[in-house]
């Protein structure tokens, strides 16, 4: 048997520091590590879910994957090929596309939908006018919108419709990988279900690889094959989604799952102490979660755990005292 194919998209040790450097007078400025040593991979045709609360660095990672931001350290690989050093977004955009959280803000208010959708076809694929026209109809049909909408402006659409258009734009470049940053968070629940269903269908029909970023555990669970949980800029747990959801190994993943409200569950388990993140300008030397962790021991505060090799089910965890 030959070696398994490389992941469609992979992050290796991605680190992004904001600020930092030195001021004019040579004084060292504090830098904030928005993402630190993040490694994850999405295999062809599968969906990688990335969950975490605000400030965990999940959006920073998503932007680096799509080439919207350059990592301070680390690499992004597409089909095993390191594309980090390539300048220019356009080349990467042919292979990785991105869907934003706020669908209305991601569409230029002064352009028609036709202009917005034609841009990637013309600029990235060099398609001629007849080819573009045919493809436009296909795209609109694929995301379930009428072709008559093409000549309207973004303000005439609801949030759900706008997000369909944004997905159509991502598809227009014919990229095989789509990174979605909180694509349904701005939508109402009934519309959210429509968009999730659409994404599942498109993934199956077009063989897309999705990286799905969200804070909503239930949403991620319905769409993900694999999962990465982030806390304070690092991946604390990663593995097959089913395995992690069924029996989390990291105490933070466990806390997240217990905190999520579920219809029909009357009592939520809540931490007693403050649920605050450490100061990003003065990160603790050990595990960032240690201050909140009910299982923490002195070693957790002193020494940072790395992601382990993973158990039988492939779930890897960065914890000195994992739950299993």
């Amino acid at each position: 048997m030959s070696a398994p194919p490389p992941p469609a998209i992979e992050a290796r040790g991605l680190t992004r520091v904001f600020g930092g450097g030195r001021s004019l007078l040579g004084v060292r400025r504090p830098g904030v590590h928005a993402a630190q040593d993040v490694s994850l991979a999405a295999h062809a045709g599968r969906t990688l879910g990335v969950v975490g609360e605000s400030g965990c660095g999940k959006s920073t990672v998503a932007r680096m994957l799509a080439g919207l931001d350059r990592p301070t350290k680390g690499a992004v690989l597409l089909d095993g090929e390191d594309v980090t050093a390539r300048r220019g977004v356009a080349e990467r955009a042919r292979r990785v596309q991105y869907v934003f959280q706020d669908p209305i803000a991601s569409l230029n208010p002064r352009k028609t939908i036709r202009q917005t959708l034609e841009a990637p076809m013309r600029r990235l694929l060099g398609m001629g006018a007849p080819a573009r026209a045919a493809r436009l109809d296909d795209l609109m049909a694929a995301v379930g919108l009428r072709a008559a909408f093409l000549d309207r402006h973004p303000h005439e659409f609801s949030g759900g419709q706008a997000q369909r258009i944004a997905i159509a734009r991502a598809l227009a470049a014919e990229a095989k990988v789509v990174v979605l940053d909180e694509p349904v968070s701005a939508l109402d629940v009934s519309v959210q279900a429509q968009v999730l269903t659409l994404l599942k269908r498109l993934r199956a029909e077009l063989g897309l690889t999705l990286v799905f970023i969200s804070h909503d555990l239930a949403v991620v669970e319905t769409i993900s094959d694999d999962l990465a949980v982030m806390y304070f800029g690092r991946v604390v747990e990663a593995g097959p989604a089913r395995a992690v959801y069924a029996a989390p190994r990291h105490p933070y993943t466990d806390l997240l799952l217990r905190s999520a409200p579920r219809p029909g569950v009357e009592r939520l388990e809540a931490e007693r102490g403050a649920a605050d993140l450490p100061d990003p300008l003065a990160p603790p030397p050990g595990c960032a979660f240690a201050a909140r962790c009910p299982r923490a021991e002195p070693r957790c505060r002193a020494e940072r755990p790395e992601l382990d090799e993973g158990g039988d089910d492939g779930a890897r965890v960065a914890c000195w005292r994992p739950l299993r």
């Binding site: 352009k111 841009a119 409200p261 219809p263």
Partner: protein
């Protein structure tokens, strides 16, 4: 383009702007037609006819100290002033906008360098810089024009840079990058069209000012040089004759004033028409209580709790009236916790705000229904009575604690204020009580946090402070409008746990607004589901969740993913809720309902009992059909 047409229509509706436009056009027309008009040569001197008063034969506005015809000089002078003002504006706008666009889009070092240079230019008091430029170049009309343009470049550059900076961080710019657009393409074809209205507004509001300033330089003798005259130079020349022949200086002043005033009127109109913030009528400041315009008060409700019946709240928008609430009925008994569940636009927040008339008014108004609280009709209460109720018997918690707390006052001061608004407490006593309240909501180091400003606290701590503020006077009813939506899930769990514990311990009734059935389960005994401004179902939480009666409730439950059940098919509700200005005559959910029949579309079904303690507004409820 439709946007442009709407802006023109708005401009036409503005009466003051229309006056400005008419006056401005009249002056411009006369100035343009100067060579065609039967006027004497403006520079022809006639010493014999000097200083004639207005009304003199052949000189309707009199003559100046050299016997030149003032009317003719005015017309020709206005021509010069307008031309100079417009040219200066165009130059300043072009140069400033370009700098602003580049600086705002490029950001980083380019932005830093350009803006520091602009800062230095702006460090000169306005006219002084113009004087300096004229001092170097020497007096003269073109030099004055250039000087005025130069001193206005920073103003344009800063304004445009600010707007560009905001736009450049918008997602659509990044989306354009992912569509393969180059930086130049993005700047000039994605960003610039969105900046254009701001440039037009800035030009229209500054052109009057520039005309005034060039006239000013000419008045000082530094602009137009004799014998050529613009309006300012005429005024300057006449100044020495103030005591003997005031008309020589007063008349040009009147023309400058009329010209600048008309341009400013027009400019304000253009601004109002193009500024999106003003377009939505959003700049209207709401009053202290929502306007109530109802024809009859209806029957008072009995009981100690809250009873709402037939409540209708409308919003005026562009001459139309949008019904946010279309006849809402519900009740909260003392100590009961009711959840009001719905999607955005369902009217749940408006319902919460309508209870103590906190809906912004204008544009909102309550047009029908009753709100009874402890036997009192709140919609008939006097403003002072409402004020005494709010924060005392009925308290609120809102969604985003960062915007709902006042950023410039300490947390302690804001909690103390809630106390002092309702009880004769001294400063020290109020502070002491505030510290106790912060401890009650389990804020660590509560006493030290009294002097913290809201931005110094985390989101969860801020929301705890809001809860402390709301519970300060031990209210009988706590109204919470999506208080955990802006919070992270672990913090949300803590806040829900806290609210539940406090409400249970104090017997506080809670009206909890949310879109999340999971949150409802965690906190509330009963639930009311809203759709298109109406309650479509109500009942005990567990029963409604397990066995929904209204098809909308069923759909809403089915379309939300549930943790631990990833394989459950998500049954999306197709279509969209009806627009509030186009509510159908029948059931508002009928167009999306999988069980729709002809009678559903004929008349709106009333909220009718479906079993013990439950009600649904449906002609054939799915469950509990008694």
């Amino acid at each position: 383009m439709s946007g442009l047409r709407a802006a023109m229509a708005q401009l036409a509706r503005n009466r003051l702007a229309a006056v400005g436009l008419a006056l401005c056009a009249a002056i411009a027309l006369v100035a343009l037609a100067a060579p065609l008009l039967p006027l004497p040569d403006p520079n022809a001197t006639a010493p014999a006819d000097r200083l004639l008063r207005p009304g003199a034969p052949g000189h309707p506005l009199g003559t100046d100290h050299l016997g030149r015809d003032i009317l003719s000089r005015l017309v020709w002078g206005a021509r010069v002033s307008i031309a100079v003002g417009l040219s200066a504006t165009a130059i300043a706008a072009a140069a400033g906008s370009l700098i602003g666009l580049v600086a705002g889009y490029a950001g980083g070092r380019v932005d830093g360098a350009l803006m520091r240079a602009i800062d230095v230019v702006m460090a000169f008091p306005y006219i002084l810089l113009a004087l300096g430029v004229v001092a170097v170049l020497g007096p003269g009309l073109m030099n004055a024009l250039f000087a005025i343009a130069v001193v206005n470049v920073p103003f344009f550059a800063r304004t445009i840079r600010g707007v560009t900076l905001g736009l450049s961080r918008r997602e659509f710019v990044e989306a354009a990058r992912l569509s393969g657009a180059s930086h130049a393409t993005i700047l000039f074809s994605e960003v610039a069209p969105n900046v254009a209205p701001v440039i037009v507004v800035t030009m229209s509001t500054t052109v009057g000012w520039m005309i005034l300033e060039t006239a000013g330089l000419s008045f000082l003798g530094l602009g137009a040089q004799p014998p050529q005259a613009d309006l300012g130079a005429m005024l300057g020349e006449g100044r020495g004759l103030l005591f003997t022949a005031p008309h020589v200086s007063v008349i040009p002043g009147v023309v400058i004033f009329a010209l600048v005033m008309s341009i400013n009127l027009l400019g304000d109109g253009v601004r109002d028409a193009l500024d999106p913030r003003l377009k939505a009528g959003a700049l209207a400041a709401p009053g202290a209580a929502t306007a109530v315009r109802r024809s009859g008060a209806g029957e008072p409700a009995k009981g100690e709790g809250l009873a709402v019946s037939g409540l209708v709240t409308e919003f005026a928008s562009g001459g139309r009236s949008l019904r946010a609430l279309d006849g809402v009925d519900f009740a909260v008994a003392p100590g009961e916790r009711l959840a009001l569940v719905g999607e955005s636009g369902s009217g749940k927040s408006v319902a919460a705000l309508s209870l103590t008339r906190l809906v912004p008014s204008p544009p909102g108004a309550i047009t029908a229904g009753r709100v009874d609280f402890a036997g009192e009709d709140l919609l008939a209460a006097a403003p002072e009575r409402l004020r005494r109720l709010r924060g005392d018997r009925v308290a609120y918690i809102f969604q985003d604690p960062l915007t709902t707390l006042h950023p410039l006052f300490t947390v302690g001061a804001q909690v103390a204020e809630a106390l002092r608004a309702h009880a004769p407490l001294g400063r020290k006593a109020a502070r002491e009580k505030a510290a106790e309240l912060l401890e009650m909501v389990r804020i660590p180091a509560a006493r030290r946090r009294l002097d913290a400003y809201p931005h110094e606290l985390s989101g969860g701590m801020r929301q705890r402070a809001c809860i402390a503020m709301a519970l300060a006077n031990d209210p009988a009813l706590l109204i919470a409008d999506e208080p955990t939506t802006a919070l992270d899930v672990t913090v949300q769990a803590q806040v829900l746990d806290l609210m539940r514990g406090l409400a249970e311990a104090r017997g506080t009734a809670v009206l909890f607004i949310t879109h999340d059935f999971g949150v409802v389960s965690a906190l509330c005994d009963r639930v009311a589901v809203m759709y298109a401004g109406r309650i479509v179902e109500s009942g005990p939480t567990a029963q409604v969740l397990a066995d929904p009666a209204h098809p909308y409730t069923a759909g809403l439950i089915a379309c939300v993913p549930v943790l631990g059940r990833p394989d459950r098919a998500l049954a999306a509700i197709e279509g969209l809720p009806p627009a509030p200005d186009a509510l159908p005559p029948g059931c508002p959910f009928a167009p999306r309902c999988p069980h729709v029949e002809a009678r559903c579309e004929a008349a709106r079904p009333p909220l009718a009992p479906v079993g013990e303690g439950r009600a649904a507004a449906c002609v054939k409820p799915l469950a509990g059909a008694a």
